[in-house]
């Protein structure tokens, strides 16, 4: 593709993003996302999961834009309760509490909120611009991948998530493999062979398999509500005093361009690593701002630089997490796993097509994020500063409403013959997800398996067809060097933790 062609597609995407009703969905998505992010205990993945069924009647491009706008809005929304109540709406906003809440306590709540809105939107804006500029390079990389590589990249994603996240690696891999396994229920797309359909045992057959959207709703909405229902402390009891001024907050962000840019790119870089996500990136960016400061003692006591670092990296993560999601179908976070589910639900396959036939959709998504950041700035500066009440909503009121939304949404996922199957799937997976969370089994690895199962199996089948059924296609350094490198990387990730102590010991003895 030439530069002129790329530019033409970009302008087409701009036209789509500003056309009606797309622009309306961006506004709706951002507002819904901000409210969901600001409510204690809720976050982007839950918000996107309960929105998934509602996107069914929409055009694919509008559906994905709505979802990504909810994601962007919720990432910002999490900061509101963090600043006003010391109760972050999402864990990604936990670093925001360190300096945001002390600022509120000393009468600078409005300034802190305006710093949050300005830093979030500016960092979100320039990281997405970077993503657009990077896309020609991404296209080249993505096109180098064929079926064997796509199968291996799914395994690599699972391995990375289990290594990077805290907890037992085997738990993560088992969860991921279980997720992959349940996608094999139903008729295969390539061999038209029914599998595990229980035709004789059930009153209906499982020919269409288990709906991965129902699984997502169960894991992110129902399991989260079960968990929240067992915990006190969702109610923000503090009293918000909205004092201070908005303008100094904007000036403060603009007077710290280095922190803003550095933290935004830290967010973007870490966001691109599967499993790392915004929780990690905000802490890394915050730590870096403390390290680079001449006055590290003032951090945690209302230092504006700390707040700028946390908030800019938070929204910078969004652009980064879209890189592996759109390029390889490997989500960088739970929210992008739901986004990936949305893409597949609307017939959009991550990978080369997102950067060739679907490039206009991909660019529309990026432009929607840019527009979304402008909306965040406007809403953050002029609306949120007057509506702190949403942060004080009791979780006891949220739980039944979310359960209703989740189950009613599941009802409409597929045709009438699958309705009750999907509803029971949501409830069952809610229960399984609750216990998986309780015992530290990676939910992202499980979701990744469920969402990627179809793609991974199709690519495994194609690879085995290419090799005449031989698995050696994955370890052939001469003919499939990229596959070989991926296998080595997976092996390194899995065996690394075992050999690391021996290597460290050997090096220490030298």
């Amino acid at each position: 593709m030439t530069f002129a062609e790329g530019l033409g597609i970009f302008f087409e995407a701009v036209t789509i993003a500003f056309s009606w009703p797309t622009i309306g969905w961006i506004v709706v998505g951002i507002l819904v996302g901000i409210v969901i992010g600001a409510l204690p205990g809720l976050g982007p993945s839950l918000g996107m999961a309960i929105m998934l069924p509602l996107t069914l009647p929409l055009e694919p491009v509008n559906a994905i834009i709505l979802l990504v706008s909810v994601y962007s809005g919720a990432m910002y929304g999490g900061a509101i309760a963090a600043i006003l109540m010391n109760a972050p709406g999402t864990s990604a906003a936990a670093a925001t509490t360190f300096d945001g809440y002390p600022m509120s306590r000393r009468g600078e709540a409005l300034k802190a909120l305006s710093i949050s809105a300005t830093a979030s939107s500016i960092a979100g804006f320039f990281t997405v611009i970077t993503l657009i500029l990077l896309s020609p390079v991404l296209i080249e990389v993505v096109l180098a991948f064929q079926s064997p590589e796509y199968f291996l990249i799914a395994l690599l994603g699972l391995a990375m998530i289990t290594v990077i996240s805290k907890g037992s690696m085997v738990k993560g891999l088992t969860a991921g493999m279980f997720g992959l396994m349940i996608t094999t229920i139903g008729t295969t797309s390539f061999a038209v062979a029914p599998r595990y359909t229980f035709q004789d045992q059930l009153g209906f057959t499982l020919n269409d398999g288990i709906s991965f959207v129902a699984v997502l709703i169960g894991l992110f909405a129902i399991a989260e509500m079960f968990k929240l229902a067992g915990e006190k402390g969702g109610i923000s009891r503090g009293k918000t005093i909205m004092t201070g001024s908005v303008v100094p907050g904007i000036k403060s962000v603009l007077s710290h361009p280095v922190t803003l840019i550095k933290s935004g790119y830290i967010g973007m870089l870490i966001g691109a690593i599967p499993g790392a996500g915004s929780t990690v990136s905000t802490f890394v960016a915050y730590g870096e701002s403390v390290r680079a400061s001449d006055d590290p003692e003032s951090f945690g006591k209302g230092n504006e630089v700390g707040l700028i670092a946390a908030e800019s990296s938070n929204n910078g993560t969004i652009g980064g997490s879209l890189i592996p999601t759109l390029s390889f179908g490997i989500p960088g976070s739970a929210a992008t796993a739901v986004l990936l589910g949305g893409l597949i639900m609307h017939g959009l396959r991550p990978g080369p097509t997102m950067f060739s036939e679907q490039l206009v959709t991909t660019y529309s998504l990026f432009v929607a994020l840019l527009v979304g950041n402008v909306i965040i700035l406007f809403v953050g500066l002029f609306v949120i500063t007057r509506t702190s009440i949403i942060t004080r909503v009791d979780t006891e009121y949220i739980i039944p409403i979310i359960i209703v939304l989740a189950l009613v949404g599941a009802y409409g996922l597929r045709g009438p013959s699958q309705t009750w199957l999907d509803i029971w799937t949501v409830l069952l997976l809610g229960g399984i997800g609750y216990y998986m969370k309780m015992y530290n089994y990676s939910i992202i690895a499980f979701v990744l398996g469920v969402v990627l199962g179809g793609i991974a199996e199709t690519n495994l089948d194609r690879s085995l067809q290419l090799s005449g059924g031989s698995w050696s296609i994955f370890v052939d350094p001469l003919n499939q060097p990229l596959s070989f490198v991926l296998v080595v990387l997976i092996a390194f990730l899995l065996v690394g933790p075992i050999i690391k102590p021996y290597l460290t010991k050997a090096l220490a003895n030298r």
Binding site: G41, G43, L46, P53, L54, A87, P88, T90, S91, F98, S165, K166, G167, S168, K171, T174, M177, T184, T188, A191, A193, R195, E224, F226, K227, L228, G230, E231, K232, G234, G275, A276, T279, F283, G287, S333, A334, A335, E396, Y397, I399, I401, I403, V404, L405, L407, V408, G412, I423, I432, Y435, M438, Y439, Y441, S442, E457, L460, L464, P497, I498
Partner: protein, 202 residues
């Protein structure tokens, strides 16, 4: 080891792993009834799930190096996050990146107080109560339709938790309107059940 000791040591995690193992063993065996192409992927994933579940079930008996893979460990970025988290009092449970806590929730719950629901004749864990009432919501939805069951569910939930009557009524109405918005947007037939069909009143 007597029966009581075994019972004390068995947790819901064992139940979860036995479920993983049972499903995987069934799917592995059943895969031999499929053609070769259709069997490759389910056999691979079921095999890997069986190995993982067995390793986790018998983790106490594993040799040292293999045990390293099974036991809980810090994530790659946790040094930074942990240092900063010490200063945070009030982080919530929602995670974007799912950084898992080191210990099972039984220990993690020391950070957040457990919520119990008092049903006068019985005190129940909040999660357990929510799961049971959600199950009832689905059953009642099957009987009378989800559109009508939704406000009943919300009213019952909040009523049991003894919330003020105006919030019970207000949120029940909101639940009905939300369910009705799904009817309008998705055109789903949730206004009638197998026992009662109130759809004609709409």
């Amino acid at each position: 080891m007597n029966v009581q000791t075994v019972r004390e040591k068995v947790t819901m995690e064992h139940g979860l792993l036995v479920m993983f193992l049972g499903v995987a063993v069934y799917m592995f065996i059943e895969s031999y009834t499929f053609g070769e192409r259709a069997a490759a992927f389910p056999r691979f994933t079921a095999g890997a799930t069986i190995v993982g579940a067995l390793l986790l079930l018998f983790r106490s008996y594993l040799p040292g190096p293999v045990q390293k893979l099974v036991v809980e460990s810090d994530g790659a970025f946790d040094d930074v996050a942990d240092e900063e988290l010490v200063e945070s009092d009030d982080a919530t449970g929602e995670t974007d990146a799912e950084p898992e806590p080191d210990e099972p929730a039984a220990d993690a719950e020391t950070a957040t107080e457990t919520r119990y629901v008092d049903l006068k004749w019985l005190t129940m864990h909040g999660s357990q109560f929510t799961a049971i009432i959600s199950l009832l919501f689905v059953v009642v939805s099957y009987l009378i339709g989800m559109l009508w069951a939704a406000p009943l569910f919300v009213a019952t939930y909040l009523g049991v938790l003894r919330r003020p009557w105006y919030t019970v009524v207000g949120l029940s109405v909101i639940a009905f309107l939300l369910a009705y918005s799904f009817v309008l947007v998705l055109g789903i037939g949730i206004d009638g059940g197998v026992v009662l069909d109130l759809g004609r009143f709409l």
